[in-house]
Assembly symmetry: C2
DNA sequence: TTTCTTCTTTAGAAACATTCTAATCTATTG
DNA sequence: CAATAGATTAGAATGTTTCTAAAGAAGAAA
């Protein structure tokens, strides 16, 4: 995404039918200014604090979900205790570092999933998520 | 797995260096007697109650984790608010029904993941998890 | 069997992430 | 500017999971 310009961000927010409030713009900057990010609510809250923006946790959650509904973010489920949000919404997969809890993109082109078996009756694919869990080699 | 015989179950528990207590045996029966299952702690607790076995939730969690460490169960991460435990510990993947929260196995042979890109420096694969999220076709 | 040790279970408290509530505040529109 | 619809917030509430400390059960040794 890589949206540096505040005006672009504001347009993006408006296009999502959301009002460009101080908090929302600040969060959008933190999320989208520096390119692809994988972030938890708690960490985004911390970054907002550091940046001198007072935002409540409730607002962090509200906005993460609103951005996700608008297709600006994608939720990645890798950890049963925390939610990660990914600013890269195009097709791709993930490495998950078990020790650090860090996520890393795997380009869609770098991995191939095929011969998906027949789907359960009456269902359609919503997404295919591949998570390659990696850990440090212990010597 | 499909372990019907109580004696087999007891052996399985002993082989995992665990004591065959009343609660542990009852949980093992619920988990392993009827073949492949995908279950949450809460649901296992409910089933134990129904079966007339009094087990605390703490014990449910203790045992699910101990069985997992022993390789008798595998934790499947598909939902950021709940943990699922799978009695099928051999290589395979999952369909996840978004509406019902139900999990369904995809045999390893029915799905192929290839050309996994070079791993991050100093790491090794711990597992490759494919989750095909499906939802009911809305007409 | 009796005793000793180690492992288990448990109730309840605590921790943690997330959602809800209802009041206040802000952006937008007329 | 006034009215309204949307946004933010503190704090309470929820839901899952873990922790604590005490009491109970299993295994080993004599």
């Amino acid at each position: 995404m890589m949206q540096q310009d505040p005006l672009e961000l504001e347009k993006m927010i408006r296009d999502a039918n959301l009002r460009p409030t101080k908090q929302r713009i600040a969060l959008a900057e933190l999320l989208f200014a520096d390119g692809n990010r994988h972030i938890t609510a708690e960490r985004l809250h911390g970054e907002a604090m550091e940046a001198g923006v007072t935002v409540s946790l409730a607002t962090i959650y509200n906005n993460l979900h609103q951005f996700t509904s608008a297709g600006l973010l994608r939720e990645v489920v890798v950890d049963s205790s925390r939610s990660y949000f990914d600013t890269n919404v195009s097709a791709h997969h993930h490495f998950f570092h078990e020790e650090t809890g860090m996520l890393e993109d795997i380009p869609d082109s770098a991995l191939n999933v095929d011969s998906i078996p027949s789907l359960p009756e009456g269902t359609e694919i919503s997404s295919v998520d591949v998570i390659v869990r990696v850990s440090n080699i212990r010597s």
